[in-house]
Structure formats: C-alpha cells, structure tokens
C-alpha cells in the first residue's frame, strides 16, 4: 500500500501487464467473463437481461417514433420553405420540450439523429453544452463535425479520396470554412444530392445549460449566413418554452421561426416500460410489491428518469441472480424442462429449503414427503409441475391485473389508483379482494350506467384477446395425470378463455337488458299535493318502505360484479402465497435498497453515535445514543462531545472534556501527550469528515458545520 502514498503524486498507474504497443491477436476474455462465465446463474442472467434490453429498445423506438416522425416531417417542410425565409434571414428552429429527466434524453436525441440522417439530411451535428463554453468553441465544434463527418466520407464520391485528406484542424473551423466547404461539396456536385437534402441540422440538446449570450451570438451569426447555408436549429429545452423567450431578446428571437414539439412526459413512458416489459407474465423475473414500490418511489420522488428506473431494475435483477443457480429457472417457459434437468442435487437441496416449499409439503401425504426428499428425480418432476402451475398463475395474475385496471380506471376517486403499476403494487402486497378499496370499487361498478359498463366490458374483452394472442400457440404443457395437478388446474390459459366467454355473454346480456323498472305499484296518488306538506312527507316515507324493484339490467349488473369478484378472488392471490414463488419473484428488497439509494450520512451518524452497531464489541454498550464512555473510539467520543457545543468550539475545553473522560482519575489529564495526540487525531478526522472547520474568529477555536 505504501506504493500509493506519496507527497508529490496523487495518481498511480498499475499497468499490470497491459501492453501498449501490440494488439493481442487472440481474443482474451475480459476479467469479468473469465470470472463468471462458467457459472450457470451468470449466463442465465446475461441471457435474460439481453432479452429485456432488446424489448426495451423496441419499445423505445415505438414510443418515440410518433414524435420523431412529426419532427422529421416538419423538417422536410421547412426545407422546402427555406427559400422563402432566407431573404428575411430567418432560421427555421424546432424546440423540443423534453422534460426534466435529462438522463433519458440522450437516447431520444440519438434516435432523432438517426432518423434525420435517414430521411432529411446527412448533415446533422449535436453540440453539448460541456463542449461549447464559448462562442468560439461552439462554432468550431459545429463546423468541425459538419466538415469532418465520417459518415459522409463514404457517401461522397470515392474518387475524391477524401480519406487521404487530413482532417481540418479545429482552430481553422470557422463559418467561412463551412461556407466554402458547403459550396465545394454540396452545391457544385449536385449529381448525388438532391436540392432538398442540403440542409444542415444543428442540435443543441441542453438549451438551459448553455450560456445564453453564446447562443444569442450563435443564432445571429447563423442568421447572417442563412441565405447561403440552409441551417435548421433544434433546441432541446428541459423546462418550458418561456426559457427560450427569456434568454433570447427580441432581435434574436425574431430571427427564429420557432415550432414547438412536446415529448412525452416521463411518467407515461415509465408506465409503458413497466407495463409492457416488466409487468407481464413473460418477464424473466418479477418484482415483489415492496421492491416495486421502492423503485417507483425513487422515480417519482428523486429523479423522474426512466433510464434510472431501468438501471435500478437491472440492479435488482443482478442481485436476484447473483450466485444462485436455481434462478436459472427464470425465463422462457418452453425451456423449463431442460433447465430443470441441468440442476445439480445441491441446487435441488437449495430449492427444498425455500420457505414457500413448506406449506406445500405440509399438505402432502407421508409417502410423497419422503419421495420429495429422497428422490431427486421425483422432486424434479414435482418441481416442474409446480413451476408450470406458477407460470399459469402468473399468466392469469397479470391478465386479471389488467382487467382490474380496466374496470377501476374510470371510477371516481381512484381508490385503487389509475395505472397498472399502482394496482400491481397493491395486489402484490396483499390479497386485493380483501381490501376496502377493492370492495368500494366493486360497489362503484355496481352503480355504473349501461353505456359505460358496456364500454368497459368491451375494452376488457380486448385485453383478454390480446393476452390470448400473445401466448404461444399450441398446448403449453402436456396434460399429465398427476394427482397434484388437478386441484390447481383452474388457472392459466383455460381460465382466461373462460373469462372471455363469460364476458361475451355478459356483454350480450347487458346489451339486451332493459333498464326499465317494472312498476308494480299503482299510481293512485295523483291528488293535489299543494299545501299539504304532511301528505307529501307521508308519501315519501311510504316510498322508502317499498322494496326497490330492480330492473333486468341491474340484476345482470350485480351478477356481473359478483362474477368479477369471483375471478379476481381466484386469480389475484398475492405472489407470496404461491409455492416456489422465490424462484421467480425478487423479494429481498432490503439488500438492494441500501445500494440503490445510499445513506452515507446516516451510516456516519450511526457509526459515530453508536459504534457498537458496527463493531459488535462487548465494551461499548451505551445506555443511550448520546451517552459517552471511555471505551468508544476516539473519533466517536470527540464527535459526541462536539455535539454538545454551539457553533464555535473551544479546542482547549474540548480537549479538557475529552481527556477527563478518558482518564477520570488523573489530576491533569490534558497534559498527557498521549491524550493530546489522540485528541488531535480525532479532531483532524472530524475535520476530514466535514463536521468542523478552522475558524479565525477566535484563537484556538473551530467552527461546527452541522446544526
């Protein structure tokens, strides 16, 4: 360790056999691959995560495509109109309101660039604020990227042999260079480039981070060139359009023809990601209610970043798979049997130890119990069976979840929440049918009008159809004549088909049902009510006593609600009631919570005020958090004493107190050099930790930096 301490150097390099000169020809495995690639869980994690990433990519393109296509089509229009604007020196400008979740924007702009390259113009540049602190840098960067664009070298005439030409130096990149480059390459060689492909797109992704003067000047410069250089600006604005207007005075903003586009709010995108990728039966692993709540809380209360939540989910998944071969059972259902056969007896032993196996075991008879423990093959069979059941359960669980979401979505007050994720969090935590909110929602459905109910049933049927379409065709599993199988056979695809039929019937019945209340009572009270309040009262009282006669619709409706309750009761059992749910559900949220949202200050505080918490020693038992003893570490003692002081701390008094606690019997402990050194060290460490700093206000005083 001594090699990394020096009074003249702060950075130490350990090449560790890294050879700079020659490239190693053979593909050497990276350190990670060589460490983990032999592990079953690692490969299975890799495979599953890659699958998720692919899905994410598709979803990402899908969600952004509408907006990006809008932008691109606007760009095309702007190109055609550019001749009109150029005489007024007006730059076409797109303002994209991106929202505050900046980490997500990178991807969005990347796909935008790709799309523009394809459809509008190959000349696209993106300049980040960190690369352009001044106008000079901004212009240089823009021009350099445009002129030296690698993508163009191939596209332009090969005979030109541009690759031999040295790249332009940055310092020589000015607007003039750009103009001559533009004239040389694009105007004079029009055979490949249609006139409309000439526009140069400059993207400024983080408008707010730029110095507004720099941007003002930049806009003014471009506007003076606009007659010869068809530039289009794209600003990514995180806050609101007013940011643009605030930072540009009239003479600048009058040069811009601004068109505003709104990108999707990040929470909508998050809901999409969660619903389409993670809250499906095909998701490789499933988050328990608590874990799910934690991640959505981090999103909603800290960063609003979809990238962030995806990374957190990835972290959960990593933790879930880490060093646990039985997790390899996650993933595609088709491969389940093959995966089970790969398990070693150690892995099987681990599965037997799962908590959820116990209730399952208890209901078995003695013979089966012995079989489960003694015979690995028999156990594998059962495991396979149960896991298929679990998958069936998942399928109907997520379907019912979506159905429930459809039904409660339009209810007043939103007792259950609006989105699928909110309802999932509730369902995963407890048996939803038993909650007040569920009962209330069912009651509310019981008050819905015919039209509305028909609509919701219709959309529910669509949900069911979608779910059925997405499942793989053909039988999911061969029917086995197992005893255990029959009892739970009610879930899965059959169950869903059943729902579909029932819904269709209900829809027809409700559609046909009349809403008329068949009146039984004869209206014989047509007499004049005027002036006789008493009689009116009498009549109303009587009306209340008469049993409310239900219409046909009402009866069917209540039957329908009963049916809903029935299916939800069956299918929305919380995951933790299922056998072997640990294999597919991530439950150890407390493990990852600390690593996803660290609590450095809390850890410091705990360690200093109660060292025993970490040290687990016998000597430091403190009666209260604030009390001190002579055994606790010096820094902790100094910390506790300093908490008794005000803003300024007299070092001498502090030392006295410190010394008196350490050596209560000594006559003058503060003069003991040993104590002095210990105290000084403790004080220096507190300063290093940021609790105190030196103060010039009074001799030998330090200032406290905390309250």
């Amino acid at each position: 360790m001594e090699s990394t301490t020096s009074v003249s150097k702060g950075v130490f390099l350990f090449p560790n056999g890294y050879n700079n000169g020659k490239k190693s020809k053979k593909k050497s495995l990276s350190i990670f691959e060589s460490t983990f690639s032999n592990e079953l869980w690692y490969t299975s994690f890799k495979r599953n995560w890659d699958a998720v990433e692919d899905q994410l990519k598709i979803l990402h393109e899908m969600t952004h495509s509408v907006l990006l296509n809008d932008i691109v089509s606007y760009l095309k229009i702007a190109q055609q109109g550019s001749e009109l604007n150029s005489c007024d020196k007006i730059i076409p400008c797109i303002t994209l309101l991106t929202g505050v979740n900046q980490p997500d924007h990178v991807d969005q702009f990347k796909s935008l660039i790709g799309l523009i390259r394809e459809d509008v113009s190959p000349h696209v540049v993106m300049v980040n604020s960190q690369d352009a602190p001044t106008l000079k840098h901004l212009v240089e960067n823009t021009v350099w990227q445009l002129v030296n664009d690698d993508n163009l070298v191939d596209d332009l005439e090969e005979s030109f042999d541009e690759s031999h030409k040295p790249k332009l130096k940055k310092s020589r990149c000015t607007m003039k260079t750009l103009q001559s480059w533009y004239n040389d390459n694009l105007v004079k060689s029009p055979k490949k480039w249609k006139k409309s492909q000439h526009s140069l797109v400059v993207i400024i992704p983080d408008f707010e981070s730029f110095n507004s003067n720099v941007l003002q000047d930049f806009v003014m410069i471009i506007s003076s060139y606009i007659s010869t250089l068809p530039v289009v600006l794209i600003f990514g604005v995180a806050t609101s359009v007013s940011a643009l207007h605030k930072s540009f005075p009239y003479q600048v903003s009058s040069k811009l023809l601004i068109k505003v586009f709104h990108s999707q709010p990040s929470h909508v995108y998050m809901n999409q990601v969660l619903e389409n990728i993670f809250l499906t039966h095909s998701s490789p692993f499933h988050l328990s209610g608590k874990a799910f709540e934690l991640l959505t809380d981090v999103f909603l209360f800290y960063d609003f970043s979809v990238t962030g939540i995806i990374q957190s989910i990835k972290y959960c998944m990593m933790d879930f798979f880490y060093a646990d071969n039985i997790k390899s059972l996650c993933g595609d259902r088709e491969e389940l049997n093959a995966k089970i056969s790969k398990l070693t007896s150690d892995d099987l032993e681990n599965i037997r130890r799962l908590l959820s196996f116990r209730p399952f075991l208890e209901v078995q008879d003695c013979q089966t119990k012995i079989g489960l423990f003694e015979d690995d093959n028999f156990f594998k069979e059962i495991l396979q069976e149960e896991l298929h059941n679990l998958h069936d359960y998942l399928f109907s669980f997520y379907l019912s979840l979506r159905l429930l979401a459809v039904f409660v979505k339009d209810l007043p007050k939103n007792v259950m929440g609006k989105s699928v994720r909110e309802i999932y969090a509730k369902c995963a935590a407890e048996h939803i049918v038993k909650t007040e909110a569920f009962k209330e929602s069912m009651q509310l459905i019981n008050f819905q009008s015919k039209v509305q109910l028909l609509e919701t049933i219709q959309s529910a049927i669509e949900v069911v159809n979608n779910a059925l379409q997405n499942t793989s065709p053909g039988p999911l599993r061969s029917p086995t004549k197992n005893m255990l199988n029959k009892s739970i056979n009610s879930l899965g695809e059959e169950f869903v088909k059943n729902i579909k039929i029932h819904f269709a019937i209900f829809r027809r019945q409700i559609g046909n049902a009349s809403t008329e209340v068949t009146v039984q009572e004869e209206d014989d009270d047509d007499f004049d009510l005027r002036g006789s309040r008493y009689k009116l009262k009498e009549k109303l009282l009587k009306a209340t006593r008469v049993d409310r006669v239900q219409s046909e619709f009402m009866m069917i409706r209540s039957r329908f609600v009963n049916y809903l309750e029935e299916i939800f009761e069956k299918s929305l059992l919380p995951p933790h009631t299922q056998t072997f749910h640990e294999i597919l559900f991530f439950t150890e949220v407390s493990n990852v919570k600390k690593q996803i949202i660290g609590a450095p200050r809390g850890a410091l505080h705990v360690a200093l005020s109660n060292p025993q918490c970490y040290l687990q020693c016998k000597c430091c038992t403190l009666p209260a958090l604030e009390s001190v003893s002579d055994t606790i570490p010096d820094v902790s003692l100094a910390y506790k004493l300093h908490r008794e002081c005000g803003k300024h701390i007299n070092l001498y008094d502090w030392l006295q107190a410190f010394a008196a606690i350490l050596c209560p019997d000594s006559e003058d402990p503060a003069h003991d050099t040993n104590i002095q050194v210990r105290f000084t060290r403790a004080v220096a460490e507190l300063q290093f930790l940021g609790f105190i700093k030196t103060s010039k206000r009074k001799t030998d005083h330090v200032m406290r930096l905390t309250w």
């Binding site: 950075v11 350990f14 560790n16 800290y302 600390k594 209260a624 008794e644 008196a660």
Partner: protein, 539 residues
C-alpha cells in the same frame, strides 16, 4: 440520493432522545405560528377523513392526490432518524461539555437509560460519585470561572457564580432553562404525531431556530487557548504514535474487514455490469480497496487516484490514462474528445480499465469540471470506477445527470480505521495548528533574504505583535517606510516596494487596502507562530 441521498427519515417519538423540561414554559409564539402555517401532511389527512363523506369536489380530488403522492417504500423503520442528525440545538452553553463529562465519569455506564439533559437528576446523583472526582470537578470549575469573566449571554447566572457544590445545581438549572426553548420542539412534534400517526410529518425544519442560533454575533465560549498546555508539541509525537485502538476493537475491526472481503466477488460482478461502486462509512477504506486490487485486479490495468492529495489536478488523471497508459503524446483539450479517445482505444484493445479513487470528494476533485470529467470517463463501458467518500456533504457534488452517468451502487463500508494518510497533508487541521510547516517555510525564506529585507520584515512582525487585537488592520505602508528609513534600511519608497515584492511573492506579507485608500501590510500567520519565530531567530 440520489442527490445527497440522506434517506434518513424522521420517525415517531424517538425513545432514544427523551427530553424533559425542568421548567414548563410556554411555547414561543413564533414557533406556534410557524406550525399553524405549515401545511403538514397530517392536516391534509385529517381533512381528507372529513371530506370522504361529502361529494367529491375538485378540492377533494386534490387532497387525494397529495395523499397518494407519499413515498411508500423509501423510508423504513431501520433508517436513521432525521431528527437525530439534523435537529437544531438552538442554544449551547459552555457547561454542556462539562455536564457531559460529569455524566460520563460520575456514573460510569449507568444501568438506567439516562440522557445528559436530565440535569437535576444528575446533580442529585452527585453524592454517589467518588470524592476525588467531585473535588477534581470542583477545582476545574473554579479554575474555569476565574478565567472567564465575561463570556456567555446569560449574565444573570454567570454573575453570581459561587464555587460551591450548590452552585452546580444553579448553573445546571440555568442551563436547562436556556434549553427549554429548544425542548419545546420535542414534545410539540411528538404530540402532533400521536394524533396523525404519520411518520414523515414528524420532522419539521424550524427555520426560526436557525436564525436564533446564528443571530448572536458573540462567540459564547470560554477564552481558554491551547497555549495553556505547556507541552503542546505534537509534531514529533504524532508521526511515531500509532492511532489508539483498543485490543477488543482491533479484533472487531479485523472481523469487519473479513466480512468485506466476501463482497469482492460481488463487486466485480456489479462492475462488470457497468455499474460503478461507491463506498461510504467512517474509517479509512484504503485498506479494503487495496486488498480488492491485490486479490482481484492483478491482471488488469488499474489507476489509483488519491483524491485527498492536496495538489491533485484532474489533468493528472487524464494524463495517466491517455499518455501513460494508452501511450498517446498529449491529452486533447476538449473533454468529449478525451472521452472519445479513451473509449475508442480501450475498445480497440479489448481492455478494461479500473479507476480506484480514494476520496472522490477530495478538495481538488470538488469542482464541477473534475466531477463531470470523472463522470464521463466512468460512464464508458470499459472503464470501471470504485470510489470512496467520507465528507458528510459529499453527495451534494453530483447532480442528476452526473449521477446517472456514474451509475453508482452504494456500499456501507464502515471500518473505523484511522485516516492516517488522508489527514497527513498540510491542509488538515492537525498539522496546520502546530504550524510546523509554516514555520519552516518562513525560516527558509527568511534565510535567503538580504539583511535589509530581514530588517524590514522584522519591523512588520514586531508591529504586528505589538498591536495584537481582534481585528488587526495591518501596518500602514507610510509608517513602514518611515520606520525603515529611520533604521537606514531603504532610501526611497520605490526601493521599499521592490523589497516588498519579494515578500509578496512568497505570500509572507499581504497588502490590505483600508477604507481611506492607504495600503496596510499584514503577515497572514498567527501571532503565536510569529513569536516563536522571533524567539528562534534571536537565539
């Protein structure tokens, strides 16, 4: 978190910090006002309870919205209580420390949970304390009272101090009285909470307290200085002495470290998935990281960065990567160019680079440029960063976008090992106060001066020592000139200025401009040190 990530929720009545007022006082009016005005969540919830029966209105909906927008899983019962950490202690008296000491040595580890605030209880227990301790304390208090005459703004109590045992009581009484203000907060908040049973409405920042604490300009501490210690010469002793850790603790720390060894494989796994690792918790984490490097990173290029190194530049880090490791001739000036270069070269050579940053919150890395550079490099797929933080405000370094680049996973690695290396540089309080470095640099500069220049410097020192007071304005240039002329040290103002440039360059002297425009000369070194310096020169 993010963003500081102090997820330390406040919780219900904290049994760990029971505060009892000795005298019941009315709540300060301001505080009550404040509380009424604060839209705490508890009130929303009670309102919500009422309106559910009514028909829904917009207002109603709004309430529900606020209700549902409560973090459900962010805060757990095992979190540290925010009140513990961030609570204002509005008034401090010089006796707080003494009470603490008294409590500690007076009743060594009492069986009943006792807090230092129960002063009365404590004093009555004094009988039980050993005689010698009482005497000792008495002596100390007397000494203290004699020496500080004017401190503290509690004139009533400090004026009639009698060095007696009964005095103990009165002083602590007055002490508790002053704390009564602050103690109101505890019960108030707690009461509110019992009603609402809500965890997060518990901790309320009370801005009034902050101003109360900071309003008095006067420093209400005693006037003791370290000069009272005759043998305060730490320089020699410090280096030799090992940090004091008891046997028991040493064993426990070893256990802790062994526990952390188990994590290495997981760290590697986490790093491999493109997360970076940050370690926090008290105690030097260098040893843990060192072992990680030895055990796991033997075959891959590593760069170790001492963030606590006082003259570390971010340029050094980039040079180490770009020039020393990758063999380029120079570092591009533009950040994104550097990042692209590193990225492409590492990818091309299929190499993973590990950055081990001790104290990423070090002084020289605190600027946003350094952090954004590190963040951009750490973001790369082939670069893996393990960093440590120690400063309590370290998480404030990173904003949203930096955090998302870093992709930290946080690990509590509390070691309780001494920060020997981290605090060994001259910016730490320890060495600064002993002033050895300043003194020796002063000496060496002084020796290189001409006799005349030395004379001038002596004049400034002497003037400064003679005119010591709270805010020393410095020696006016005119006076210096006349004094120097008297001693035939200089002949013209210009010559004096030429001499002074030498001092200015070495920062031995500073120019200070006064309100009337004249220039004053100040030596930015403490007078004790100057005295010491003079003594050494004369011998």
């Amino acid at each position: 978190m993010h963003l500081g990530n102090n997820h330390d929720s406040a919780s219900d009545d904290s049994p760990a910090t029971p505060r009892r007022t000795v005298r019941v006082r009315n709540k300060p009016k301001k505080y009550q006002d404040f509380f009424e005005k604060t839209p705490t969540k508890s009130r929303i919830s009670t309102r919500y309870g009422n309106v559910t029966s009514d028909d829904s209105t917009d207002d109603d909906e709004l309430n529900i919205e606020t209700l549902t927008l409560k973090p459900k899983a962010l805060f757990g019962s095992d979190d540290v209580e925010g009140q513990d950490m961030f609570k204002f202690k509005s008034r401090h008296t010089k006796l707080d420390l003494q009470n603490k000491v008294k409590e500690a040595i007076g009743s060594p580890i009492p069986s009943t949970p006792k807090t230092p605030k129960r002063n009365k209880h404590l004093v009555t227990k004094d009988e039980a304390t050993p005689k010698q301790v009482v005497n000792l304390l008495k002596k100390r208090i007397i000494k203290k009272l004699e020496s500080d005459s004017e401190e503290s703004d509690f004139s009533a109590s400090s004026s009639d101090f009698v060095p007696d045992k009964s005095e103990n009581e009165s002083s602590s009484d007055s002490n508790s009285e002053t704390e009564a203000v602050e103690k109101e907060i505890g019960p108030m908040v707690r009461n509110k909470c019992h009603k609402s049973k809500q965890k997060d409405s518990e901790y309320i920042v009370t801005p009034d307290n902050y101003f109360m604490m900071n309003s008095s300009k006067k420093i209400t501490t005693s006037d003791h200085t370290l000069a009272r210690l005759k043998n305060m010469n730490l320089n020699e002793n410090l280096k030799e002495m090992d940090a004091h850790i008891s046997k028991e603790h040493q064993n426990r720390i070893t256990d802790l470290l062994h526990g952390y060894n188990e994590l290495f494989d997981k760290w590697l796994y986490v790093l491999g998935e493109n997360f970076n690792i940050i370690l926090y918790g008290i105690g030097s984490k260098r040893e843990v990281l060192h072992r990680f490097q030895i055990e796991k990173l033997k075959s891959v290029p590593c760069i170790i960065i001492n963030g606590f190194f006082p003259s570390l530049m971010i340029k050094n880090v980039l040079e180490a990567i770009v020039v020393d490791l990758l063999g380029n001739s120079h570092v591009p000036s533009n950040l994104s160019d550097v990042v692209n270069l590193i990225d492409s070269q590492l990818k091309e050579r299929l190499t993973d680079l590990f950055l081990i940053i001790h104290n990423i919150d070090g002084t020289m890395l605190r600027n946003s440029k350094a952090q954004s550079t590190l963040a951009s490099i750490s973001e790369l797929k082939n670069v893996h960063t393990i960093a440590t933080i120690d400063h309590i405000n370290a998480p404030l370094l990173w904003d949203h976008s930096k955090l998302s680049k870093y992709k930290f996973s946080w690990w509590d690695i509390t070691t309780f090992l001494p920060y020997t290396e981290e605090t060994s540089f001259e910016n730490s309080l320890m060495t600064q106060r002993s002033g050895a470095l300043q003194l020796s640099s002063l000496k060496s500069v002084y020796q290189s001066l001409t006799t005349n220049a030395r004379g001038i410097f002596n004049i400034i020192i002497q003037y400064q020592l003679e005119n010591q007071k709270q805010n020393y304005q410095g020696l006016p240039f005119k006076d210096l000139y006349s004094k120097s002329r008297e001693q035939f040290l200089v002949s013209s103002e210009l010559a004096l200025r030429a001499q002074l440039t030498e001092f200015l360059d070495h920062k031995l002297v500073k120019f200070k401009r006064t309100l009337d425009g004249s220039e004053n000369l100040v030596i930015p070194i403490e007078s004790v040190l100057l005295q010491q310096f003079l003594e050494q020169q004369s011998t």
